[in-house]
Symmetry: C2
Subunit: 333 residues, 2 copies
Amino acid sequence: MNPTIKDVAKLAKTSKSTVSRYLNGHKVRRETEEALKKVIKELNYFPNINARRLVMNNTRVIGIVVDDIANNFYSGIFKGIEDMFNANGYQCVYYSRTSHYQGEFGFVDLARERQVDGLIIVSFLKRSQKFIEKIQKLSIPVALIGDSNQNEQVFSIDVNNEHGIREIIKYLHRIGHRKIAYITGPEEFSATHWREKGYKDTIKELGLSYDSSWIVPSDWTEAGGYSAMMKLLEFDGITAVIGSNDEVAIGALLSAREMGYKVPMDYSIVGFDDIAVARWVYPPLTSVKQPLYEIGEKVAEELVNQLKHGKAPTEKRILTEPQLVVRQSCINL
Amino acid sequence: MNPTIKDVAKLAKTSKSTVSRYLNGHKVRRETEEALKKVIKELNYFPNINARRLVMNNTRVIGIVVDDIANNFYSGIFKGIEDMFNANGYQCVYYSRTSHYQGEFGFVDLARERQVDGLIIVSFLKRSQKFIEKIQKLSIPVALIGDSNQNEQVFSIDVNNEHGIREIIKYLHRIGHRKIAYITGPEEFSATHWREKGYKDTIKELGLSYDSSWIVPSDWTEAGGYSAMMKLLEFDGITAVIGSNDEVAIGALLSAREMGYKVPMDYSIVGFDDIAVARWVYPPLTSVKQPLYEIGEKVAEELVNQLKHGKAPTEKRILTEPQLVVRQSCINL
DNA sequence: TTGAAAGCGCTAACAT
DNA sequence: ATGTTAGCGCTTTCAA
């Protein structure tokens, strides 16, 4: 059996309370402090965190629930979150939703079982009304990264997808493109909707036009981009293609090349997200970068405010601005 | 305040013990069961997991400590781990070592504070003797993925890096290559040592030779591969280059192309790890695939055996066999 | 099958 | 500054 606070007290000839106070940084007499230090070392004592959590009724843990724990894309977000929470005395632990135990609404258990003091749920999937309702019923602070189901009751943050596409189109327009096709993504991702909206709206705003057959679906994989581009290759006059994510744009790049076209001479191609690979393909892909660190930081700051100061969020929905990264996959017409 | 087991007992006109038993799947009288069910629903009762953990002196949680939570490479490993643990009633939580709180030896706290029942520590860095000693002192089962510091006291699993490179060289040799250069990796990764050993040994075994200037260092980034290849381009006669990881091989690809060489016509290039991008570059990169799911599954199985049956591991060090994936980046001479 | 009671290891109010 | 005491919410003997 592990040594307890009682053992420490006895050996140091003092009481449990004093030990507890010492452990929590309160002042104790010089001599007791030294005795305590010695005994703790000897015994190799460590506080039982479960007992502490029971009494304190909190955990100092923030749960971060992710669709797939190893989705590289989240990396920057996590960094922002951790920096902020660690600076405020919280530990971050990650839960993967791919996990059987967690299930779709596993976060409910995490909250109700008091495994965590706060929750960040990150997903790029569309969220259902039922999901939002479950969130609202929880008694701990929760923040969403991604879709909010247009709901202003729950705190959420996302990148301004519409704006990202707008920047791309304005850029393409500026360098002379007039016939711009679009490879869209899967229905189940909320970004698909907003990015496509950005495409349609901006095309209109600039007085350009598109044929509905120029919007080709894809599954956001490289293979999907490949076959989408195959379809676009059949149409006349298109000079630029926007992939609604980088993988799809890379797939488009690959199929254009395979069919004997040159990028960017025959087709200008742009991606979205600016994943690392965007720089490695040939030609290096122009894309749009999300402020990931900032997203993580903001979401964490918000939660810290709620946790520490009971402060309600000033805004319920935050959209961050992505940034165009110009490389060599587009040509000046 | 949240409802407790006592509240449930009172409302259901029974005792705490009975509620507890019911909650843990024991038999109770038909009528009490129904009353309990009803009250629990009404009260929206949920057990306090911290109280339970205090009493039971366990958590049913496995901690997975990762250098960087968002390193895409781990993905397959995690899947294997989670499948196995969930099937055995354990929850997996992930801790990122990038985190300030965790620090280099943060896992020690996780174990001693009883935050977890078992620990999997995954890292591709070389591990120090001190690290291994700390592990051995822990009172919970621990498994390592990656380096074991040649230690047979702690359970560990890794890919057979030496064998992976051997497969590559045998393949290159088979298709006619005789002068094979090697871009090595950073000192701090244990795989660097084994992969380089695989290179040197196999070259010798096949009766080939290499000039020591054909082993060029890199930092395992695409940029590092780029400049390493620049150096190799200066030597005569080299027909094939092995990158000790895929990023470096891709960088080599890029600089060869930029300098006007054709891959694979002028240079055959091979990578290691078979990351997703390997398929996307041009030409698609021949590489070596690690059995990630299998690694995760094995490590989890091992821990489950220890946790549930107190069974000690039969082997202390397991090496899994990677597999050559031939694409189009090498030419038959 | 059930209930009473003890106890897990800790914190905190209170009195000293 | 320190010790006494009473819980936190649960599980688990033990006796009925």
